[in-house]
Symmetry: C2
């Protein structure tokens, strides 16, 4: 599709539903792009180039900022449902008819809702560091999350060393490498999100995570092959929620990595891309999936 | 190491601890063989050639019958601890100083105990369709297991269609293919185990699975990198036990496959071998593991 990479892909814009959406596209020519749904308070620059460029070797990758975040216009809505509607409007404006979705954390909530709303668009789904509606410890930020997001850091992005990695020496070393990779793009970085983003996203995630009757029933609607990935010790969306997702989704594979927290996919980026690529290609033992990407 | 395959490897014998152990070795030359620990009432012929020959492309594979099973002499002991001691005596007699261990079901109990007893021998561990001491629903055969093993089948090996696969059409179709593969060896098959095997193994697994105080503490001793694999709906060793293993082992990765039961690795044999090979080679993001097998 292009010679662009995570570092060089220009920020482009498309108008839909009254929003000017910022996005970046890069990677190998492929029929089905991989659309990335970002986490709490993140911008396109928060994705790990080892992951995005890793996928881009085989397929087209699309990053975007949802409404109200960073270089996109509009306001952040206070529900996951509205975020999913914005994402669908954005994809419609791009003219994409079929995609694979990768959602991380709150982006995983949006990817689930997007798939429920638009089963025609989503072929396969990858849910990373995330959980179901009404999952365990999801009615608000976890106590660990409140402490981590309530503290101050210098430099500020060292927040992610605590939010995404465990305290172990090995995990922290991997975290510092992630920060280096994430800082490597120098030109046309996204502006940091404004002060209205975090409260609105928090309101949305609290509604999504609130206890409910039979909360996991909606997962039966996600019949797409799904890969659920998390760290062994996710303190922001507890790891058991990944197990709950796998047990309640009709066609889900689960992978949990050792000694890792919310950002396990950034601790083991090459292994994660290998696992996810095997999943996206389709298992050699599954006649219903294509063998090649 | 040899041109033998699952189908052609001769049954060999070695004497140790007063037992004449039957075993088969085949596969590519490698420093570290992969030793397979068999499930309840199984013989060497119950392994799936798609799995054993899949691994044998890259490494040496060793199958064996533990004491009292099929072509091995002696009596089946009534504890996992004695089974692990027998396995260590067998490996010592072969002169193997370092290995990777793959244990399935009760073979996974033995592989855990073997690793606790002989950390010098085990480099990495793969635990399939198994659980920890005192795990959930492990104090006896599960109700589903009692029903499945209590019924009669014609032909008799169709037992495994129910024990290893889900009732879904896709899983049953995969099960029939597994049975075909498993029946393909025509020469020098193992004799079926005698009537004393099942009761002794049952006594051993009941002791292993009995409720205990702080039952998972011993898992901290298994510091080897471990891969835990199971189906989404294991009715013989409930799937939650694989999650418990992963959460309590110091360095474990978990993979759960969709729409699958106790024998998930035979439902997705090529994918399982790919995942396990990635694990055995060492993650590209883990400096402590070798990149090649």
């Amino acid at each position: 599709m292009s010679n662009y990479t995570h570092q060089t892909a220009p920020t482009q814009f498309v108008d839909a539903a009254g929003i000017r959406f910022a996005y970046r596209r890069f990677g190998a020519r492929s029929d089905i792009p991989l659309l990335f749904f970002m986490h709490f308070t993140g911008t396109m620059d928060h994705w790990d180039p080892a992951v995005t460029d890793g996928f881009a070797r085989d397929r087209e990758v699309i990053l975007f900022n949802n409404a109200g975040v960073s270089s996109s216009s509009g306001e952040v809505p206070t529900s996951i449902e509205e975020m999913a509607q914005h994402a669908a409007a954005f994809i419609n404006a791009l003219g994409v008819k079929k995609l694979d979705a990768l959602g991380f954390s709150i982006g995983g909530f949006v990817a689930q809702q997007f798939t429920v709303d638009r089963p025609d668009l989503a072929r396969k789904v990858i849910l990373v560091g995330t959980g179901p509606r009404g999952g365990e410890g999801m009615a608000s930020l976890t106590p660990e999350g409140q402490e981590i997001f309530g503290a101050t850091y210098d430099p500020a992005d060292e927040l992610w060393l605590r939010a995404f990695f465990t305290p172990s020496e090995r995990s922290q070393a991997a975290g510092r490498k992630y920060l280096e990779r994430q800082r490597a793009r120098k030109e046309n970085r996204d502006p940091l999100p404004n002060d209205k983003v975090a409260p609105a996203q928090l309101a949305a995630l609290q509604k999504w995570g609130a206890p409910a009757k039979d909360p996991y029933a909606y997962l039966k609607k996600i019949t797409q092959p799904t890969l659920v990935v998390n760290g062994s010790n996710d303190v922001l969306v507890y790891t058991v929620n990944s197990f709950i997702l796998q047990q309640n989704l009709p066609d889900a594979q689960l992978i949990l990595y050792p000694d890792s927290n919310h950002g396990a996919q950034y601790q083991y980026p090459e292994l994660f891309v290998e696992h996810a690529t095997l999943f996206l290609r389709g298992s050699p033992n599954r006649g219903d999936h294509r063998r090649t990407a």
